[in-house]
Symmetry: C2
Subunit: 116 residues, 2 copies
């Protein structure tokens, strides 16, 4: 029985998925997803914004729970704002092993850390 | 501050990670991980076993919660048995959209489905 839920996707195929803002305009895309090895939860989407939100083309790790999959758009909608992106910590080398950096990032976006 | 927790990994880098059995011998490796788009949880590891457990080289989706990351081994340990692998549903085309197939798979492995 095929239920048509279509909720499963190979993690590698998430790379390149578009991300849309509150007004349904494309703001960027997902370069890769970061998994918490122990819990098996997706922790971050590392996104590129292409200068749309005024932060240039730099990579930004964004907490996964700022994204919601939208079947109509065929991509993710995000609740993050331009102000949040501008004030969030830069993705310095080693950020993925830096709990202090992660804590500040979640504070900026107002999100519940995945490790709690 | 680097805490050295090292829990985050790019999903794409999970591909190729070794999986070890109860006796710490390598039983196979992860080809790719499948994510539930809505919850952001890793639902399955699609594994190859290389004939070790008597099921040939075929791909098998294995519920993610049968795997535990082992920092000493640098890979995942699995609780699944050869009998479970042999009796689990084959990974027929379209399994990832087939809730009935998924239910039988979780029943075989005795695991809690990710959608509950």
């Amino acid at each position: 029985m095929t239920t048509g839920n279509h909720n499963l996707i190979a993690a590698n195929d998430v790379s390149g998925t578009a991300v849309y803002g509150a007004d349904n305009s494309k703001v960027g895309s997902i370069d890769r997803v970061m998994i918490d090895k122990r819990s098996g939860k997706v922790a971050y989407a590392v996104m590129t914004f292409g200068g749309v939100l005024g932060i240039g083309g730099s990579e930004r790790p964004v907490p996964w729970n700022t994204l919601t999959y939208d079947t109509d758009l065929g991509g993710y909608k995000t609740s993050i704002t331009e102000d949040q992106l501008k004030t969030a910590p830069q993705s310095q080398s080693g950020w993925e092993n830096d709990r202090d950096w992660e804590t500040r990032t979640h504070q900026t976006y107002g999100t519940q850390p995945y490790w709690i």
